[in-house]
Symmetry: C2
Subunit: 143 residues, 2 copies
């Protein structure tokens, strides 16, 4: 198995079941903004996807500064994951239908028909994780 | 009570009891890196403090790019907090003694005598919080 495949599979295992991630973007003035995002329950294959509004602040910020961080915290299992990647805003009806689940109605009441519904596509460049209270970071190489 | 005092007191109440925060910094190449940090159990008064090594990667990153984000996730209570601020590396023995607690020995075995022991001081510029992940952000004004 290649290092890349191992890294992808390991990250998939780490983030499975973590329902909310904190997505950090860089604003125009250099400030770093973070907000909770509902994670999509699909097998991770090297690309992370999130639903968001096409005209949201985070969408504008990542268009200007594609470098983002996605942080997963699972305090109950003492697990923390940091994913580094490059984001872009995407409108892709087929992908949206593939990834959609009814729980997302909390954020998009009109569902797949919501005119603002869009996707953030994040190409993962690297990740680190911590699996114990005093652990050091494990760097997932090979993305 | 001033807006500032209200904002400080509200943020204090929100982050109390959240043991681990994700600190995001900007690297030289523009990538955003995040890592878990033990929070310090002191009354928040407008400044956040963390212990870290003087020569760590995060220390170097924040010296180059003081803008940081500190994200708190409390999934059990569906509470998420994003704090925006400017960080600096500080060596202050009196402050370290004031903030030290024995649980930090996990990262600093030599305790207060550890030659690498230093503080990150973060002056908070703003904060937002969510009391459910699909709720709208409440902006804490007045910092
Ligand atoms: C639960 C937890 C708490 C941590 N708390 C701290 C801390 O308070 N200070 C610190 O320097 N590192 C802490 N670490 C280790 C950091 O996450 C990180 O691995 C280390 O500081 C090196 O980061 P850097 O290479 O970005 O500088 C903690 C790790 C875990 C898993």
């Amino acid at each position: 198995m290649s290092t890349h495949t191992e890294a992808v599979q390991k990250l998939n295992a780490l983030i499975k079941g973590i329902r909310i991630a904190m997505l950090t973007t860089q604003a125009q003035d250099g400030a770093l903004h973070s907000r909770p995002m509902g994670t999509i329950d699909a097998e991770f294959d090297g690309t992370l996807w999130f639903f968001t509004a096409w005209d949201s602040t985070k969408a504008d910020e990542l268009r200007q500064h594609p470098n983002v961080n996605v942080a997963y915290a699972d305090p109950a299992h003492q697990r923390y994951v940091s994913v580094v990647g490059r984001a872009e805003m995407v409108r892709d009806d087929a992908k949206a239908r593939e990834l959609w689940n009814p729980m997302l109605k909390a954020w998009f009441p009109e569902g797949l028909e919501d005119p603002e519904l869009a996707l953030i596509r994040i190409d993962v460049d690297g990740a680190e994780y911590w699996d114990s209270p005093s652990g050091t970071a494990v760097v997932l190489a090979g993305f």
